[in-house]
């Protein structure tokens, strides 16, 4: 990687992010192209490249406490435009994960609960059924109520389906989740 030589001077968060994302964040020359095209920029505390700069100067708390990575919609506009081939969206995934594991609260209250539930359903059934996903996720009855008019319409329009059996070969799923989690190189191991 092109950053190899500069590693010694880099801060520990920057190094961790580069390692986990396998992206050379230090290649960024602040051209601002990623920020200009980001559909979520207005809502973000810092733009993606500002976050990179903060990482470089070791402002870890500001990086991990920012809403930037949580609000990234994973649209990949920045990633395909960056003149230095940094997959910025992938870096956002990693920053978000580190923030989460270090106990920074997500500005999106439902974020981690939703994705953990989603993963759990894949682990156990192999496929997502939208009805059971939403039923399990909306444990607050008020939520269910506000969604019920939409739910009824979707039902009438034939867009809801009761749970199907999912993947037959459950053993292979179990194997994937167990051995992938054991795999040090793939797991973030924070």
């Amino acid at each position: 990687m092109a950053t190899e030589k500069r590693r010694e001077t880099s801060t520990s968060l920057l190094r961790l992010v580069e390692d986990l994302s396998q992206q050379a964040v230090q290649r960024c020359y602040q051209c601002d192209k990623c920020a200009t095209g980001c559909p979520m920029l207005e809502q973000m505390d810092f733009s993606t490249n500002q976050l990179f700069r903060l990482m470089e100067i070791g402002a870890e708390d500001e990086v991990l406490g920012a809403n930037t990575a949580w609000l990234c919609a994973s649209c990949y506009t920045c990633s395909v435009r960056c003149p230095n081939q940094i997959d910025i969206a992938q870096v956002m995934d990693v920053v978000r994960t580190i923030a989460y594991e270090r106990g920074y609260a997500s500005p999106l209250e439902r974020f981690t609960g939703f994705h953990e539930l989603f993963l759990d359903i894949i682990r156990r059934r192999g496929r997502i059924n939208e009805v059971s996903l939403m039923a399990r996720f909306n444990t607050n009855p008020l939520d269910l109520l506000s969604q019920s008019k939409l739910g009824w319409t979707m039902f009438r329009k034939g867009r809801l389906k009761w749970p199907s059996p999912g993947v037959k070969d459950r053993k292979s799923l179990k194997r994937i989740f167990e051995s992938a989690a054991d795999n040090k190189e793939d797991s973030h191991g924070l």
């Binding site: 994973s74 990949y76 506009t77 995934d93 978000r96 439902r110 199907s164 190189e185 793939d186």
Partner: protein, 287 residues
């Protein structure tokens, strides 16, 4: 050439009309598909939202199944396509990753089989010619905005089947089907689908921007190949109060659109399951 078709979870439920219209249209065009047997969810946003070690392993199981069936994979959902294609590319480029994935999956993963997007197959010269020859006049004079969204055309580090900034595959399909594909600015603007459950107010804002641009460009309808874009843009309009109904823009799956051009009825293409602006569209088509 026959493909192993990867439907993904949405095509079985909220995007049922996509599945139905795909089956009808591919059959009409003589494109042979068999559903990939015992496929699993691609992982969607959830395997990478918190950077899990499953991000390649979960799609890789499907790639291994297709290897075993000895067929290329055809994917209709943009999100599934993105995840499967990324893992496929990573396996081609990185033999170390491949070895690791093979040991996790417990099956060989020689990535000789390709992952295709439905749009690239439908936009092939041969299919377009067939469409031009066989199409009815159903969509004559209709101003169509092709909405590609994010995930079908933006795969970092990959060549891709279409341009990332100004994709044209759907435009070509729409033109061949006898309508007017309008050049408009928000073809690839994000609809925020990945935030639609966890931060709905943000997703809504992005949808509004896209729909407003569609209004300003006087588009009669939007076509899409993504079940999440369809749902997101459809529901946002449905949730507005009814005084806005005449401003609604139908969000139509590309195969609902193409099937109709090839002579399928509104009912066969399950237009009744779309939410926004479909009554008006039906009236317009019947006059």
């Amino acid at each position: 050439m026959a493909y192993s078709f990867f439907p993904g979870c949405s095509l079985d439920a909220s995007a049922k009309s996509y599945r139905t219209s795909i089956d009808w249209t591919l059959d009409a065009l003589g494109i042979e598909v068999t559903e990939l047997s015992d496929w699993n969810c691609c992982g969607a946003t959830s395997t990478h939202a918190l950077h899990t070690p499953y991000v390649d392993a979960v799609p890789a199981r499907n790639l291994a199944l297709a290897e075993a069936e000895d067929r290329d994979i055809l994917v209709a959902c943009s999100a599934c396509y993105h995840r499967l294609q990324r893992t496929h590319q990573a396996l081609v480029e990185d033999p170390v990753l491949r070895e690791r994935m093979e040991s996790i999956i417990g099956q060989p993963l020689t990535p000789k089989r390709q992952v295709y997007n439905l749009l690239e197959i439908l936009a092939s010269d041969e299919i377009l010619k067939q469409v031009q020859q066989r199409r009815t006049d159903s969509w004559k004079g209709v101003r169509v905005g092709c909405y590609y969204g994010c995930l079908a055309v933006r795969i970092p580090g990959a060549e891709g089947f279409d341009d990332t900034e100004n994709p044209m595959s759907m435009d070509r399909i729409v033109e061949a089907a006898g309508a007017e594909a309008i050049d408009w600015p928000h073809k690839t603007r994000c609809c925020g689908a990945s935030l639609s459950v966890t931060g709905p107010e943000y997703a809504e804002r992005l949808c509004d921007q896209i729909l407003e641009m569609a209004q300003r460009c006087h588009l009669d309808l939007l076509v899409t190949g993504c079940p999440f874009c369809q749902y997101n843009l459809d529901v946002v309009q449905w949730q507005r109060d009814s005084s806005q109904e005449d401003k609604s823009i139908p969000i139509v799956f590309i195969t609902q659109f193409l099937g109709t051009a090839l002579g399928a009825s509104f009912k066969e293409m399950k237009f009744a399951s779309n939410l926004a602006g479909v009554e008006a569209l039906k009236r317009r088509m019947e006059t």
